[in-house]
């Protein structure tokens, strides 16, 4: 009997992705600053293919930002400390004013750079592959990806006080791709990420059997 309705590949992928997310029990969020985003709306990446769907967008857990955040707070208060401890009093007032302005420029740059590194260093899980986007310095980036079907082994590791309290950890993905290991570092809910990856591997095998491989 001929098929009466055949869903378009895009619709089918969206439906299947939603099913995986539901099965694993991941909640959707619209927060653009979240560290764990399932089926993100309005997010695309440079090498994304037409029918490729982002299933998970991961960043380092927000707790990992505490170090630089405290440093930034301290930097903001340094000029006030200098009022109490007059180390720069030998300078004419106009020089002190300019130095304070320069200090705040440096503080702003420090905060902005740290934020950019956190925000744009992402790990993506699509229905076809996993991608690790790393921005190493001002104008240098490294993008590593591996097809889901090439994943051979997934290990995740949590431990320590902070990781246990805030539920985050590292995921090590062994692949048969050119780069043999892709690491997702300090991502929230690593158990759920592993479950999603396992579901995708099963789905990929199913597609292979059914001859639906893209």
């Amino acid at each position: 009997m001929p098929d009466i309705y055949i869903a378009s590949p895009k619709k089918r992928i969206t439906r299947e992705s939603k099913e995986i997310i539901k099965k694993v029990g991941v909640k959707k969020t619209r927060n653009p600053l979240a560290s764990f985003v399932a089926l993100p709306d309005g997010v695309e990446f440079e090498t994304q293919e037409k029918e490729e769907k982002i299933i998970l967008l991961l960043r380092r857990h927000w707790v990992t930002n505490i170090g630089w955040f405290l440093m930034a707070v301290l930097m903001i208060y340094v000029p006030f400390i200098l009022k109490i401890v007059p180390l720069l009093d030998f300078l004419p007032s106009r020089f002190r004013l300019v130095l304070v302005m320069m200090w705040y420029l440096i503080t702003l740059a420090f905060i902005f750079e740290e934020f950019l590194i956190w925000f744009f260093n992402v790990y993506l899980v699509t229905d076809e592959r996993i991608i690790d986007v790393d921005f190493i310095s001002l104008a240098y980036r490294r993008i590593t990806d591996a097809q889901i079907e090439k994943i051979q082994d997934i290990t995740y590791q949590t431990g320590g006080l902070l990781k246990s309290i805030f539920d985050y950890g590292d995921i090590y993905i062994q692949t048969a791709a050119e780069k043999q290991r892709i690491d997702f570092e300090s991502v929230p809910s690593p158990d759920k990420v592993v479950k999603v990856l396992n579901q995708l591997i099963i789905q990929e095998q199913q597609e292979k059997i059914e001859g639906r491989v893209r």
Partner: protein
Amino acid sequence: MTPIEKFLDLLINIQIWSVVKLFILFALGLYLVFAYMVIREVNLMSRTIQGVFNLPIKIIAWLNLLLAVLVFIFSLVVL
């Protein structure tokens, strides 16, 4: 007075605050270059990952450059 004597005289009478001013302006000049590089970095990052939060990030990067220019001009006038 020969040119060399003039130069030596200038070196002797040079004020310490003029040297400090030059150093500060040089540092601010470097910051201007850095602020421009940050804009390029943000553009590269936004091209790699396109999302809804990219516009505010670009605005912050441009504001950083604008602030750096203002501080540079302010220092040039005040110092």
